[in-house]
Symmetry: C2
Subunit: 112 residues, 2 copies
């Protein structure tokens, strides 16, 4: 019984690892969600002042307009000569009840 | 009395004209607001089938995410090989109570 619990723990640990690695590799990615705009602005500024030259803002659905706000605030108030490259796309979300849903995504690449 | 009514009618007609002209000049611009996404998709498709090669989607504030939805739906479901060029910006709005407000804008240029 104890062995089984141990095995389950191991399985959990293994399942979590790829996520952690991914988070580390995407260090200069800021996912924009439902927090106030300025939290994400701060995250971007922090990235830039840590020496990173490029920050990727990502958002989907209704948060897309907030991602645009973040890019504009950073460019107008904090970083001069900010370059913005914008891509939009569609992602399939597997809903549990409604079947597949399409959701729009945006990726704004900010570079100094 | 009848003359006065006639004069008022004339005045109304004249006041309406500039608006009409503007609408004609901006014929290939679709302003995205709070209507359902598919209304704007239909507007874009109508523009394209009338022979226009480029349609500009414009939106500001929270409607930005809907403008992205419109571009994605047109590109994925209706028009093959759609080119999208995206610009973002900031507009100052003169609020009556709160003073000036900054609002983000997006312009998506769709071309076949």
């Amino acid at each position: 019984m104890a062995e089984k619990a141990e095995a389950q723990k191991d399985a959990k640990r293994e399942a979590k690892q790829p996520e952690k690695k991914r988070a580390r590799a995407d260090d200069n990615v800021v996912f924009v969600g439902k927090k106030p705009t300025m939290s994400y602005v701060l995250a971007v500024i922090t990235q830039f002042s840590s020496g990173v030259k490029e920050v990727h803002l990502k958002a989907r659905g209704k948060s897309i307009s907030r991602a645009v706000d973040v890019a504009e605030v950073v460019g107008n108030r904090f970083v001069n000569d900010l370059n913005k490259k914008i891509d939009i796309g569609t992602e399939k979300i597997h809903g549990e009840r409604d079947g597949d849903l399409n959701v729009s995504t945006i990726q704004i690449t900010l570079s100094k």
